[in-house]
């Protein structure tokens, strides 16, 4: 079985390489890898497994599309430019306040949805605009948006990696708020201030900014932006405050209702269908990546390749594991996306339990390191989205280089959580 699974993995790697050689793009290369793996396993073209695999992250796909649609509508209606102008007018004299405010703004969407992509899509362009007026270079802006998004995804109450791992390990998703809150807020603040404090421009030239920034349409007011967000957050908060008297709405419908609110309230007539078509087109790389990763994971499970990877990880000596998780977790995230949580997280939690390591703290540490991998190829969904949103057109590797110092800081915090989990158990709160 070891040889079989290793052979399947090798054939998959060769399939991916072939795709890259043919310039098929990351997504189709992964599909080729999955198909090659299935053939190597002796399953031919397993149509049911391929079709079933496309459902692995279907919920995530729906959230991506509806959240981005909401944000694109808000942009088209002029709401984003209105908010940017207002914030700059109010806080242009204090770099500290601006950076702090931007950190908080970035933490909210991902904290509530568990998705860094949503953070980039909902507030990314807004944050990018303000940062650019602070004289911060595009590569730094992209890095700030990515790291803010990654920390927002890690932030409580919703951390999908911790939730998926806890779910797979039959462990309640309880007690994570404290540990996740501390580490993600520290990580976000360090990232934003490390990368944003030293820009050329200390203050914003308000007159110049107001002249350059697009004018919102006539009739646009604070309410036009506030109400759609209030609809979204109202639904999410109501579900938490009155869980037994409020229906289960779910994030895709909450975003859709917020989007409908934007359409209804917009001072100008929005071409809703055209914007939806463009949204779907913009998101094709992201959505197809996630969908194809689902197929890949299914074929890996079928053929034993997934088991071989999991086994290799959990049978490493604990010292080696501690010394390597900071690298293994982001890399696995870059390859498998959320699938890395059930793939590696669940056996690791079992391992931690067995070794007497506090699994909540250790998992919180891991669940903060994981999202850092969202900037790594082959998938890199949040990193790519951040780069696009920031309008950075240089080399992707230069953007990655910008992320290194804050990422190392966050990885160090996460590793401290894992290694000293039991000593940090006081952080555990409902």
């Amino acid at each position: 079985m070891f040889n079989h699974a290793a052979l399947v993995l090798a054939v998959m790697a060769a399939g991916f390489g072939l795709g890259a050689l043919l310039r098929a793009g990351t997504e189709l290369s992964m599909l080729i890898a999955a198909l090659a793996g299935a053939v190597a396993h002796g399953a031919g073209v397993p149509t049911r497994h391929i079709v079933e695999g496309t459902f692995t992250y279907f919920d995530v796909v729906l959230i991506f599309i509806t959240a981005t649609y909401f944000m694109n509508l808000l942009k088209e209606s002029g709401g984003v430019s209105y908010i940017v102008r207002s914030v700059i007018r109010k806080f242009h004299k204090s770099r500290f306040m601006l950076l702090l405010l931007l950190t908080l703004i970035m933490l909210v969407p991902g904290a509530l949805t568990g998705s860094g992509t949503v953070t980039v899509l909902v507030v990314g362009s807004f944050v990018a605009t303000v940062l650019s007026y602070l004289g911060i270079s595009r590569d730094r802006i992209a890095a700030i948006i990515f790291l803010g998004a990654a920390m927002s995804a890690a932030a409580p109450p919703i951390n999908l990696w911790a939730m998926m791992t806890a779910g797979g390990a039959n462990m309640p998703y309880v007690g994570f708020t404290g540990p996740l809150g501390v580490i993600s807020i520290l990580g976000a603040l360090f990232s934003v201030f490390y990368l944003g404090w030293s820009g050329k421009q200390r203050n914003i030239d308000v007159a110049k900014a107001m002249k350059e920034l697009p004018q919102p349409p006539k009739g646009m007011s604070f309410l036009h932006v506030l109400v759609p967000f209030a609809v979204f957050f109202g639904i999410v908060v109501a579900g938490r405050v009155w869980p037994f008297n409020f229906p289960v709405v779910g994030l895709p419908l909450a975003f859709t209702l917020a989007a409908v609110t934007v359409i209804v309230m917009s001072p100008t007539r929005l071409q809703a269908l055209r914007i939806l078509a463009r949204t779907v087109d913009d998101l094709l790389p992201l959505v197809s990546t996630v969908t194809i990763v689902g197929i890949l994971v299914q074929i890996m499970a079928l053929s034993g390749a997934r088991g071989l990877i999991s086994l290799s990880v959990v049978t490493l000596p604990l010292v080696v594991l501690f010394a390597s998780l900071w690298a293994v977790l982001p890399v696995s995230e870059g390859i498998f996306q959320y699938a890395s949580a059930p793939l590696l997280g669940v056996p690791l939690v079992f391992l931690f339990n067995m070794k007497g390591i506090n699994p909540i703290i250790a998992l919180a540490g891991m669940a903060t390191i994981w999202p850092l991998g969202d900037c790594l190829p082959p998938t890199a969904p949040v990193g790519r989205a951040a780069v696009m949103t920031a309008g950075y057109e240089g080399k992707y590797t230069s953007f990655l280089a910008r992320c290194i110092v804050p990422a190392l800081f966050i990885m160090a915090l996460g590793t401290i959580y894992i290694v000293f989990a039991s000593k940090l158990a006081f952080l555990v709160r409902g």
Binding site: L28, V51, F55, F58, V61, V248, G250, P252, L253, I292
Partner: protein, 54 residues
């Protein structure tokens, strides 16, 4: 509450259907083979969900 929950369920099928139709429209407009293939893959779960197969 049950009625509202049922309506919400139907709305989800509607959302999936609308996105599915948009994916088809984008596929039809596309000139790039790679994009066509990716649209086809991405469309699969939308179609099977709306047909209540999976």
């Amino acid at each position: 509450m049950q009625t509202i929950q049922t309506i919400i369920g139907y709305l989800y099928y509607a959302i999936a259907a609308v996105i599915g139709i948009v994916i088809v429209a984008n596929f039809v407009r596309s000139r790039d083979v790679r994009k066509m293939l990716l649209y086809a893959i991405v469309l699969s779960p939308f179609v099977l969900r709306v047909l209540r197969v999976k």
